[in-house]
């Protein structure tokens, strides 16, 4: 993955966000991470970019880690909006959530998430999962979103 690719993390749990950020670093993934505390924040970021208001990030490469149980706008809705947009749909979306029910899993795959991962309950397993995710993302190429 290019150094310039930003990792967007939509996660309202501060501890989870810190754990994710830290363990991506431990996996030697030094890309910039941005935290969004609710579904509206991430949509505003992505769709303002779409309108070209924010000069500094109007042409960039991204990967999105998306929690589902988010305040204001839930993650499934965020995924749906991202995948309906002709530009934003090119962003690989990784669902990272505590929700482990068949219906939600099928729905997210239908909408076009790249991967659906259930957060492990054990702290150490969670850390290990993020490190493996990080080492995988290191070999993934992303594409420019305008």
């Amino acid at each position: 993955m290019k150094k310039e690719t930003n990792i967007l993390i939509a996660e309202d749990n501060k501890e989870h966000f810190e754990l994710i950020r830290k363990n991506l670093l431990r996996a030697d993934l030094c890309n910039e991470t941005l935290n969004f505390a609710d579904g509206q924040e991430i949509l505003d970021f992505l769709f303002d970019m779409d309108k070209g208001f924010e000069g500094e990030h109007n042409s960039h490469e991204y990967i999105l880690l998306l929690d589902l149980n988010l305040p204001k706008v839930d993650g499934v809705k965020v995924l749906e909006k991202v995948k309906q947009d002709t530009q934003l749909k090119k962003i690989p979306v990784i669902i990272l959530t505590a929700t482990d029910d068949r219906h939600t899993i099928e729905r997210c795959h239908n909408l076009g998430c790249s991967t659906y991962i259930v957060k492990p309950r054990e702290h150490q397993d969670f850390e290990e999962t993020i490190q493996k995710l990080g080492r995988f993302l290191a070999v993934v190429e992303t594409t420019l979103i305008k």
Binding site: H109, I117, K119, D125, V140
Partner: protein
Amino acid sequence: MKKDMVILIAEDDTGHFQLIKKNLWLTCVDSDILQFKNGREVLDFLFKKDTEVYFEDKKQYILLLDIRMTQVDGIEVLKRIKEDEELQKIPVIMLTTTSEASMIKQCYELGCSYYIVKPVNYHHFMEAVQNLGEFLSLGGMRLPFIKKSYV
């Protein structure tokens, strides 16, 4: 759930296939691995046309797809899968030597999950496949079920 994962590999280079299989085996020991030598073979399998191996509803599939293949290339395979209402759920990971930005863009537009460029260095290639394997065998990974009815 994990042990029902089947990794489909569409790869016409035998050396690359062996390397991918061997290094996936190190990490995804419980998964079946099926090889397809060109785009036509993998489409026949997915759309069930006179093949010896059959697509099973109870298994969960993931496809590693090369681009430059004989008969039907990877772009066409990706397009066909993503046009199918059920098959479109299968995660498709492009694994190719092609590193052109326009190709990466096209594959993401068509709906691939990830695009990986095969490292030229042999050891780096092995390492990349092992990283992929570790990722695919994550305990929390949830894949979709594909229900195909062939009438």
